[in-house]
Subunit: 145 residues, 2 copies
Amino acid sequence: MPDGELNTGLLLYIPYRWLENRVFQALAEAGFDDITTAQMKIMQRIGPDGTRLTELAEQAQVTKQTAGFLVDQLEKAGWVERVPDPTDRRARLVHIAPRGLEAIPVATAAVKAAEAEWEAHLGTRRMAQLRRLLAELREITDPYA
Amino acid sequence: MPDGELNTGLLLYIPYRWLENRVFQALAEAGFDDITTAQMKIMQRIGPDGTRLTELAEQAQVTKQTAGFLVDQLEKAGWVERVPDPTDRRARLVHIAPRGLEAIPVATAAVKAAEAEWEAHLGTRRMAQLRRLLAELREITDPYA
DNA sequence: GGTATTAAGTCAGAGACTCTGACTAATGTC
DNA sequence: GACATTAGTCAGAGTCTCTGACTTAATACC
């Protein structure tokens, strides 16, 4: 699978991976050095009022068992906590714990900084255009849009 | 890390992942059902004249050991073969083997079909624009550009 | 030429991620 | 109340990835 002209998949992946590296590095520098990318993919999808394991699994595109494993790790490390779902006694809601709340601004700042670099390179107008195009692509590629 | 407005990272990742799924599915349907995504990330980076393990490792952003492990798997399954590098007796070049060559058109067709769907959704002009913007982003995010 | 450093790759071991299959308990349907 | 569905867990196996130590070949420098 040689390239010729790089396919759009790789063109999407390269900046994605770069951004992920940046966030990871920023977290590590701030002392949050015990989180993994797989765990981050779960964290990212926890809503403000908590989210069920099954829903996290679907959105992260992994099995319930995998999501359960990752939430176990996140819980042990103090990033999240599980609380009973008042509306369904089978279910529990995964919430972001205090330690997780501390990490959010660090991650957010890293993303913002990276996006600012991109905007400086592309120009404000074209960066907005890029986001708009990607948002449109999401309409046909994200089952949870 | 709840969303608000989805960060650009996730906006890049969603279509990337969707495309990867498509290719994977197309390969499986064509009978190439014994390749993994990690192996594909290596395959994708093999040049027409073969590529060294170290270079594959760097570009795929994994250690030499990991790349070696993946190439072992790919070799066992007949996707690639290793041949001595005539210019350096320490090195070997990873080449795509006959079976790998058969899979390429299947993967390529899946990518093309997916890109066509995107183009139908965005319009020709805007799809080209998207690719142009991503290519520009690559300039500052791909150390191997 | 000869020694030191660097580069390509392997071996060994451990930890992290992910899956399939089988299961329990609570909920929903008729 | 019986039956199917949904949320989640337990157990086991395979895959991916890393760190550290090593071998062999090439390169740098004197």
